[in-house]
């Protein structure tokens, strides 16, 4: 056997550049993983990324000057797009729309005053506002043109008027222009011609045309998505150029990818054209990492739960595939690109507990990172979930984030005492346990809601828990939701970064399609052309090949179907190749069956007729990465290096609890609860009467035992 020098083996890295921390995961050729967390450097974005790489590399025994050269692949998720969007620091953007429809973006289909607000904010009419615009009204230009639902031109494009509008916008200093005409997804000639004219008039302006970005029905969602894409495109283009330059100067010659929200990574040079797709890439990364691990574990159905400082995010993986949404609320607008669906509530480590006339509530108000929980000692005085975890002994105040930050338990106790225990006449421990119970139940309610809404039962799922606080609370919120198995990945504290490095390239291409049967139809194939559908799919596949390259590419076809007069649209998988009449009829049967699986027996309104609304081709190109190292399975009981008193509500008193450190877990083995595992980025809790198993990678599986939900 030939010995490969460790100096020569390639490294693979992923990172997630968040607002506060940059998380990095480094995979060695042998499949071992090393992680690091370093502060994000806002001024020099790449600095934090490079520091993170060096840190993780050091843990793998690689010298800093070797990292760039040996790095074969680097993928990362960034909040660059999200920050520019939230802070409205995109470029001055113009919008060209069909005459008569200037207010589509302003009115947001009547959702402008409530989209993106929490329920309690929506109810408070006097405080409702409209979002700050992406495109200011005076940069919206109506263009003389009109196409109808069939794609027929009613009024041709008035090129002279369009040219004037472009000149005006350019003179006004716009750096990007979005083009969204009615029905252009049926006939894109006017939009494409408009793009050409802009290129002639103002070649340096960034152009995003809806018919190229998302050729689907719905002018509001198309406008919102395309406007955001144009607004952020130039920002992302600059970011990628800088990042690439700095990495290359360190000797990096490998592939560079960026996470997007729809289920994979994009080659960095494609990112600017898809800027809107990067907006929720952080949460998407966590779900993707979970999907990769779930596949290794052979768990088809997984609920992902990410509990951080301010929010609790829940996603679903069904039959191994993350559930995608066609339209996501992003900030206070909508983005209609296929995105991994994540539902969030304001429940995190920073959620504040309070008592109002004898009644206890937790959240949605959050102390955030500043001032943060009382125990941070940064001026926060109101009790948060993190404070409660410290008071009850779940978190070791001297070993928070692996000892990187020390917490002040006295302040946490004082906060609970003053704001909850005192007003309710309870002891501090009892009050803290109560706050924790309320928060855990709220999160369990969200887990149930998300799964039930999608038509599934949470009890059929394995729960993945990650984020700084997820592993600390999953033992309770899983039990309350009736879930029997909890999996906490070794990458729990840096899970999105792990998602970045393990994700394949994945891109969806959609096109609106309109075919329907009449009411009370016999065979769908008598009314729906298999030929037209085949041709449309072939065109999509050609686009997909052009964008993703042919090498290693596999594609899957889907069509969106619904009963006419109904709103529930479902994606149904379509066979490859040339479709025939039988294939069309089979699609209707598949759709009906799937519909009733989700919505219940006898809910299919077949007699209303069936319509096909959209066609989608998902392209998949695997990214090379090492297989995970294989570690022997060990069932021996692990031995803790410490213990501390922890107050478990189930036991009703302080209980001496085994406390494990990462080193205690290295070999893998079993632990009987109650136990706390103090890991570098999080504290993992195993409840009384629960058991957990630690494998050789450091992944932990908790058997919840008796579930209560």
């Amino acid at each position: 056997m030939k010995l490969i020098s460790t100096n020569e083996t390639p490294l693979y890295a992923g990172s997630d550049i968040g607002g506060t921390f940059t998380d990095t995961v480094l995979l060695t050729a042998g499949g071992d993983l090393h992680v690091s967390k370093s502060p994000t450097t806002k001024e020099q974005l790449t600095q934090g990324a490079l520091t993170g790489l060096d840190l993780a590399a050091a843990r793998a025994g690689v010298a800093p000057d070797q990292v760039g050269r040996r790095l074969a692949y680097y993928a990362h998720g960034t909040t660059q797009a999200t920050n520019a969007f939230i802070e409205r620091k995109g470029v001055p953007t113009g919008l060209l729309c069909t005459r008569g429809f200037r207010d589509v973006l302003r009115t947001q289909r009547a959702m402008a005053s409530w989209a993106g607000l929490a329920a309690h904010e929506t109810l408070h009419f006097s405080t409702r506002t409209h979002p700050d615009p992406i495109v200011s009204v005076d940069r919206i230009r109506e263009v003389e043109e009109r196409v109808d639902y069939k794609g027929s031109v009613i009024v041709p494009l008035n090129e002279a008027q369009l040219r004037d509008a472009v000149r005006e916008l350019f003179a006004d200093g716009v750096e990007a222009i979005a083009i969204v005409f009615l029905w252009a997804f049926r006939n894109d000639a006017h939009e494409l011609r408009a793009a050409e004219i802009i290129a002639e008039e103002a070649p340096e302006v960034f152009v995003s045309a809806a018919s190229m970005l998302l050729p689907v029905l719905g002018e509001y969602e198309r406008t919102s998505t395309t406007a955001i894409n144009a607004y952020l495109g130039p920002i992302i283009a600059r970011y990628v150029t800088n990042l690439e330059r700095e990495l290359r100067s360190g000797g990096f010659e490998g592939g560079l990818s960026i996470m997007e929200s729809g289920g994979g990574v994009l080659p960095a040079q494609d990112a600017a054209g898809q800027a809107a797709a990067m907006l929720t890439s952080g949460p998407a990364g966590g779900v993707l990492a979970s999907a990769a691990l779930a596949a290794e574990k052979n768990w088809p159905n997984v609920i992902t739960s990410d509990m951080g400082g301010t929010s609790f995010d829940v996603g679903l993986i069904v039959d191994g595939q993350p559930l995608l949404t066609r339209t996501a609320e992003v900030g206070r607008f909508h983005v209609a690109l296929p995105m991994i669906g994540v539902t969030a509530i304001g429940s995190g480590g920073g959620s504040i507990a309070q008592v109002q006339d004898g009644h206890l509530t937790v959240g949605p108000e959050s102390a955030g990172a500043h001032p943060g929980p009382a125990c941070y000692g940064r001026g926060g005085s109101r009790p948060t979930i993190t404070d409660v975890d410290v008071v009850l002994g779940f978190i070791d105040p001297d070993y928070f984030l692996g000892g990187e930050m020390s917490l002040d338990r006295d302040r946490a106790v004082a906060a609970v005492e003053e704001h909850v225990a005192g007003p309710l006449g309870l002891g501090v421990l009892e009050a803290a346990a109560g706050i924790r119970k309320v928060a855990d139940n709220q999160m369990a309610d969200l887990l149930r809601k998300v799964t039930l809404r999608a038509g599934y039962d949470p009890r059929d799922f394995v729960l993945f828990a990650y984020g700084g606080a997820g592993p600390t609370h999953a033992h309770r919120y899983a039990a309350e939701a009736g879930i029997g198995t909890v999996f906490i990945p070794a990458t729990a504290a840096v899970h999105s970064a792990y998602g970045a490095v393990t994700s394949d390239r994945h891109r969806s291409f959609t096109v609106a399609h309109h075919a329907h049967t009449p009411r009370g139809f016999g065979l769908a194939s008598e009314h729906v052309s298999a030929h037209a559908m085949t041709r449309a799919f072939e065109a999509l596949e050609a686009r997909c090949r052009e964008a993703m390259g042919g090498e290693g590419l596999t594609t899957r076809r889907y069509t969106g179907m619904r009963f006419r007069q109904q709103v529930h649209e479902l994606p149904i998988e379509v066979p490859d190749g040339v479709l025939d009449a039988a294939a069309i009829d089979q699609l209707v049967d598949d759709f009906t069956e799937r519909y009733e699986e989700i919505y219940g027996r006898d809910t299919a309104l077949r007699v209303a007729g069936v319509e096909f609304t959209v066609l989608r081709v998902d392209g998949h190109v695997p990214v090379r990465k090492p297989s995970p190292a294989v570690h022997p399975e060990r069932r021996e009981s692990l031995v803790p290096s410490g213990q501390r008193d922890v107050y478990f509500d189930e036991l009703g008193e302080l209980t001496t609890t085994a406390a494990f450190r990462a080193d205690d877990l290295a070999a893998g083995g079993s632990i009987a609860g109650p136990a706390v595992l103090d890991l570098p980025g999080t504290t993992l809790v195993v409840g009384p009467r629960q058991h957990c198993h630690v494998d050789g990678h450091g992944h932990v599986t908790i058997d919840i035992g008796v579930v209560t939900g």
Binding site: F101, R128, E142, R146, V362, L605
Partner: protein, 737 residues
């Protein structure tokens, strides 16, 4: 079964109220709210209907044994009162015979038995625990069709509720767990869309089932007494918090008055008038001075009135309280039977929720706002009227695919909100009683309807001018496309009477407008390559439409245009920053005409502010106002600034001068009227030329708009819409003043 064997109805469980610890309370409370979410999800999933899924025209809830709301959903809030009333009707009508048993499910759609109108069908199920009734679950949603003389069951020509739709009094649909297929078939068979109705019914049943299952689980975990104690404590909690809030407000009487035009038969006026008496921690809404019930379908029943009042109260003074029966306990609603808002059998009511009931809501919002405007702490919650009455536009015929089709254009949900003291109304906000509604895309509608939009955009001058402007509504215009002809129907009020009133000197929003242009040259213009988005640029012959015209034919050379009223304005429009008005003109929110006439703002040809002309214009308007005639005047007006007692909005106050309370103008500090008298008698009054109020004000011959201003400084304090012979409304009467 012989009579001797008939069993007494199962008892209502007399539970033991217990103190629930705050942690368990909060856990159970959150779970109960999650249950109403789950109910909504179950209904939406199965129904699949756009009315349920997009317009959110439904509600769900859990009720105590007597029908009291324990928790309710936050969708169309009109339904909340309705479900609760339906439960009470079921108990009243069915408790003894046929009895209420475990596993029963009742269905109701009679507007005289708790429904708002026949299309709003409710399904209610008792919850039993160990053989005793402990509560109810319920869900209601708007059905696409429930039979009757007109498709969609809005019967403009009806004179009797029995013509409008099928009428189901509380009826047992499921008897002890067994579905009565005969009853099911009869109900669905009376609809033009039996399959859609079946799905909605299945959805409503699923919403009940899921709630029943979750409650069983909660009871198994926490015990029945704990769960019921949480519900009762939740109700008590809302009541305590609302009462505490009310105690912080001054006692007094607050009035609002509006008029509904056209009852479907003729263009007559119907008054809806309310006086809210606030005493201690109690609210009494008295609608006794409203008009008698109308001949046509615009009436609402007493249940509709409750729904209107509750919808007016919940998101205003109770925005941050748990929405339970506790909110309703301090509220009494008075209306003798037989009024337009308390119609008696068999008055037709099919348009009631969009008609009289809608105005009971907006007048309730107005009086609650007037109440809240008398305390600094809650003044920011007070608002001018939101858009006060939707129009409908339904078309019937064949669609572009040659299929029979009836469609509702849902553009009318994109309406403006009322202005507040601290901000303009939202453009659009969406209706105030639909907490989070959506309108369909233009493309979604063009895909299924044979129409081509000329435009969909915010309508200039649809909002009421004010220091803070109301919110604009979005309007639309259509031509027919790819079919030869359809039949069209529209119906609204607020067409010859502005109904979205302004507050404290703010002007009302423009009226609902719908126009029909015949014999246009639109097709020629399009063929010539012109995208005409403004019908006024066409040649046409306009056919005059009333508020509720008979159905009309809509053909190839016709163009229809409609623009809903927006929200009312807040405060004297002359106090609005002139540059904000100029910006509004440049945006198309306000016309140049209205800028000049209502705001006194003059613009250059380029729509830039002409500051000196504006100053002169405003000075002239103020001078004119100072000359408006008063009815009364103080013989010996007090001088000096006085001691403020209560604010009344942010332009008026009650202040004490030499021991006596007076109405005082905050603009100039003048005490102008004794606090116990109607300030309007002492302010200068002018009957406005409608053109001075905006470009979309249209007045019924019997209606006038009165403006009231301080004779010392000219500040406008009230704008009132009234029948010509009606005395001035006494808006705010404070007890201690």
């Amino acid at each position: 079964m012989t009579k001797a064997l008939a069993q007494a109805p199962p008892p209502v469980y007399e539970f033991e109220r217990r103190e629930v610890d705050p942690v368990t309370f909060e856990v159970v409370r959150h779970r109960l709210l999650a249950v109403t979410d789950e109910q909504a999800a179950a209904l939406s999933a199965i129904s699949g209907s756009p009315l349920v899924n997009e317009a959110t025209d439904f509600n769900t809830g859990i009720y105590r044994a007597g029908g009291e709301v324990a928790v309710m959903g936050q969708t169309v809030i009109f339904h909340a009162a309705s479900c609760s009333q339906m439960v009470r009707q079921v108990i009243h009508d069915c408790e003894t015979d046929p009895g209420i048993h475990e596993g029963d499910v009742f269905i109701v759609n009679s507007p005289y038995k708790g429904a708002l109108h026949a299309p709003d069908m409710g399904v209610l199920a008792p919850i039993f625990h160990k053989g005793e009734r402990i509560g109810w679950t319920g869900a209601a949603c708007h059905q696409l069709d429930v039979g009757g003389m007109v498709h969609g069951s809005f019967a403009s020509k009806a004179v009797d509720v029995r013509q409008e739709a099928m009428l189901i009094p509380p009826l047992k649909l499921i008897d002890r767990g067994v579905t009565r297929t005969d009853v099911w078939n009869m109900i669905t068979g009376m609809s033009r869309l039996p399959l859609n109705l079946s799905l909605d019914l299945k959805g409503l049943l699923a919403a009940n089932n899921v709630a029943q299952r979750r409650l069983d689980e909660l009871i198994a975990r926490y015990g029945v007494d704990t769960v019921l104690s949480v519900m009762d404590e939740l109700i008590d909690l809302s009541e305590r918090r609302l009462r505490a809030r009310l105690r912080e407000l001054p006692d007094g009487r607050f009035s609002a008055r509006t008029y509904l035009d056209h009852d479907g038969h003729e263009d007559n006026l119907h008054r809806i008038e309310v006086t809210l008496t606030k005493e201690g921690d109690q609210l009494t809404f008295d609608y006794s001075s409203s008009s008698p019930q109308a001949k046509g379908f615009v009436n609402c029943t007493y249940t509709g009135l409750l729904a209107g009042v509750y919808a007016g109260v919940l998101p205003t003074i109770a925005y941050d309280l748990p929405w339970t029966e506790g909110i309703f306990r301090p509220i009494e609603v008075i209306a003798p039977p037989g009024l337009i808002c308390s119609a008696q059998w068999p008055a037709p009511v099919s348009q009631g929720p969009l008609g009289a009931m809608w105005l009971t809501e907006t007048t309730a919002v107005e009086v609650v706002s007037k109440l809240m405007s008398t305390a600094p702490k809650l003044m920011r919650e007070a608002q001018a009227s939101p858009s006060a009455g939707p129009d409908i536009f339904n078309i019937h015929g064949r669609n572009q695919y040659g299929e029979p089709a009836t469609g509702v254009m849902l553009d009318q949900t994109m309406t403006g909100g009322g202005a507040y003291m601290h901000r303009d109304g939202l453009s659009p906000q969406g209706h105030h009683n639909i907490i989070a509604g959506k309108a369909p895309n233009v493309e979604s509608l063009e895909l299924i309807m044979p129409v081509l939009y000329l435009y969909r955009r915010l309508v200039s001058d649809s909002a009421g001018p004010g220091r803070n402007r109301g919110g604009l509504s979005s309007g639309a215009s259509y031509m027919l496309h790819d079919v030869q002809r359809v039949e069209a129907l529209c119906a609204c009020h607020g067409y010859g009477v502005p109904t979205a009133a302004g507050m404290y000197g703010g002007l009302p929003a423009g009226c609902n407008v719908h126009r029909l242009y015949r014999e246009t040259n639109l097709r020629e213009r399009l063929a010539a390559g012109e995208m005409v988005s403004d019908p006024q640029q066409l040649t046409f012959v306009e056919q005059e439409l009333s508020a509720k015209p008979p159905a009309f034919a809509f053909g190839l050379d016709d163009v229809y245009e409609w623009g809903p009223q927006g929200g009312g304005g807040w405060g004297d429009p002359l106090l609005r920053d002139p540059s904000a008005v100029a910006a509004d003109v440049r945006l198309g929110a306000v016309t140049r005409h209205t800028a000049e006439h209502a705001y006194g703002v003059v613009l250059t040809q380029a729509n830039e502010l002409d500051a000196s002309a504006t100053e002169a214009c405003r000075a002239l308007l103020l001078e004119q106002r100072r000359g408006w005639a008063t009815t009364g005047s103080l013989a010996d007006p007090p001088s000096g600034s006085g001691t403020p007692l209560f604010p009344v909005g942010d332009q008026l106050a009650i202040a004490r001068h030499a021991g006596e309370p007076y109405w005082t103008c905050s603009g100039c500090g003048t005490a102008f009227a004794p606090a116990g008298e109607n300030p309007k008698e002492y302010l200068g009054c002018d009957v406005a030329d409608p053109a001075d109020l905006g470009t979309r004000i249209r007045l019924h011959p019997e209606i006038e708009v009165r403006r009231y201003a301080c004779t010392a400084c000219g500040r406008q304090h009230f704008v009132e819409i009234a029948q010509r012979d009606a005395p001035p409304l006494f808006d705010v009467r404070l007890e201690d003043a």
